[in-house]
């Protein structure tokens, strides 16, 4: 992170310029200290793929990747992302082509109402980058923090298994 060389040691919820990479592109923004990443993405940037579910760290709908690892945007200050890589669901598709995981969710019917889907896919994406060949137990453990009220999870697990299998 670039330190704010001319800033006083502290100041009341000051807006600061924060530079980070968002979905692979350099991004700089003026963000106040108290602004959470979820609010910044949705309201500041219009990236509404990241969902507001419980807004309290319990449902996983707001899962994004920070430096490749799943994190909850609702409990992360936007300012904390300075100097880091942030990825949202909008960054997965490549030139309009679905990512393997997105395609697997589509083909295996891993989506019903769809509200939990971006968070599910980002959590699964984080798992597959760390462990490209997870067994079912590892998938279930990685998605334990993502709540779905429609599917019963079976099709979601199958979708992740399918994406992992097609990458083999």
């Amino acid at each position: 992170m670039q330190p704010d060389r001319h800033a006083p040691p502290s100041s009341l919820s000051r807006a600061r310029t924060r530079a980070f990479r968002l979905n692979g592109r350099a991004h700089a923004a003026l963000v106040a200290d108290h602004v959470l990443l979820l609010d910044y993405l949705r309201e500041g940037l219009g990236l509404t793929g990241t969902k507001r579910g419980c807004d309290g760290g319990e449902c996983g709908a707001c899962t994004v990747l920070i430096d490749g690892r799943p994190r909850l945007a609702c409990l992360t200050r936007a300012g904390e992302c300075a100097g880091h890589q942030v990825e949202t669901i909008e960054g997965l598709a490549d030139g309009g082509r679905m990512s393997p995981l997105q395609r697997a969710f589509h083909e295996r019917l891993g989506t019903q109402c769809g509200y939990c889907t971006p968070g599910m896919i980002m959590a699964a994406e984080g798992l597959l980058r760390r462990n490209p060949d997870p067994d079912e137990a590892a998938i279930r453990a990685a998605l334990a923090g993502n709540i779905c009220r429609c599917t019963g999870y079976v099709k979601i697990i199958e979708a992740v298994q399918s994406a992992a299998g097609s990458a083999r």
Binding site: L36, G57, R69, T76, R130, A137, A138, A141, A144, G145
Partner: protein, 350 residues
């Protein structure tokens, strides 16, 4: 969330100076603090973000075979550190039994110790809570008490400390390293958290401005690696706080117990070390009858804080089961559902 003064010190000395002001709070992973701030349950005037202080995020092996865990080591990084998990498997198991992957990627070792209770009345601004407002009263008393304490509680507060990580830590004599306005000091984890008494708002031994810099485990803790387990009983087998948990560990000479360790979680305002149970097992045979006696001893002083007497019998059974599992031996891999009595299969450690 209230507006706050945000400071990002580069050194411990700067951090301590910034945090000495009234209303200042340290910020690390933020998974608990930001949530409480969003609910307007805490309103710090200043957040002292310690995450940019170098040197606090290392897992350092110590000469005595122990380990120093920097306060900023993320829960996931500690649990997935192969050397750490091999030498302190019950601690890795406890970490992986806690929260979710997303939260473990953010939450820190130091922050875990300082997380607040999950008492529903503490989280409900409309309820009276002596922790939030000293002297306000406690609506948990006479309320919904299913999850509340059965050990060490007072008329003023019946909340529990929800940490999984702290339970094996206290069983293995972890030491908390602290820096503050008066310099550096250490505190055994067993004495770090306070029972509520008539000051439930004081939850730890930390004085204003003091911060945790590391948690240290002595080499003796690694001697239990072959027979150390964490067992967690909860409403569902993943992503829920414990109703009762136990860390149980044995050092064995054949079937004779040389030394036993036992701590319980979610039964009191602190991770609960059970010395009497340990003493009873030292020199005894490792069998179910003795584990049952140890469980009785561990809960001898328990009393329900309302309609939660079931937790006392549950805790006895969790202790017995945890010792049976520890006696059977630490599995080569951590179970797919860490610390669950229903665990099958293995979660790969990557």
């Amino acid at each position: 969330m209230n507006r706050f003064d945000y400071a990002r010190p580069a050194t411990i000395a700067e951090a301590v100076a910034l945090a000495a002001e009234p209303g200042a709070t340290y910020l690390a992973g933020g998974t608990n603090l930001l949530d409480l701030m969003k609910g307007d349950l805490v309103r710090p005037a200043r957040l002292v973000d310690v995450t940019h202080i170098p040197g606090l995020d290392a897992i350092e092996p110590l000469a005595d075979g122990g380990v120093r865990i920097g306060a900023l080591v993320r829960n996931a990084d500690l649990a997935h550190d192969a050397d750490f998990a091999r030498r302190f498997p019950a601690i890795a198991e406890a970490l992986l039994a806690g929260a979710s992957a997303q939260l473990r990627n953010a939450a820190t070792a130091g922050g875990n110790l300082l997380q607040r209770t999950r008492c529903a009345y503490f989280y409900d601004a409309a309820s009276a809570c002596n922790k939030r407002t000293p002297g306000a009263g406690c609506d948990a008393r006479g309320g919904e008490t299913r999850m509340q304490a059965v050990l060490g509680w007072s008329e003023h507060c019946i909340a529990t400390h929800p940490s999984d990580f702290c339970v094996p830590l206290v069983a293995f004599d972890a030491i908390v390293e602290i820096e503050g306005p008066k310099g550096r000091r250490e505190c055994p984890l067993e004495h770090f958290h306070r029972l509520p008494g008539d000051t439930p708002e004081r939850e730890s031994d930390l004085a204003p401005g003091e911060m945790i810099t590391a948690v240290r485990l002595p080499g003796a803790a690694a001697q239990f690696a072959g027979h150390a387990r964490y067992l967690k009983v909860r409403d569902r087998t993943s992503y829920a706080f414990a109703i009762v948990s136990a860390a149980a560990a044995l050092r064995l000479d054949g079937e004779t117990i040389v030394e036993a360790r036992l701590a319980l979680g979610s039964v009191a305002a602190k991770p609960w070390r059970a010395h009497a149970a340990e003493a009873l097992l030292a020199g005894a045979q490792a069998n179910e009858a003795n584990f049952r006696r140890a469980a009785e001893a561990a809960l001898a002083e328990a009393r329900p804080a309302g309609a939660n007497g079931y937790k006392i019998e549950l805790a006895r059974r969790v202790v017995r089961r945890a010792f049976i599992l520890a006696h059977a031996g630490t599995p080569a891999r951590i179970q797919a559902l860490p610390a669950s009595p229903f665990a099958t299969g293995a979660l790969r450690h990557v």
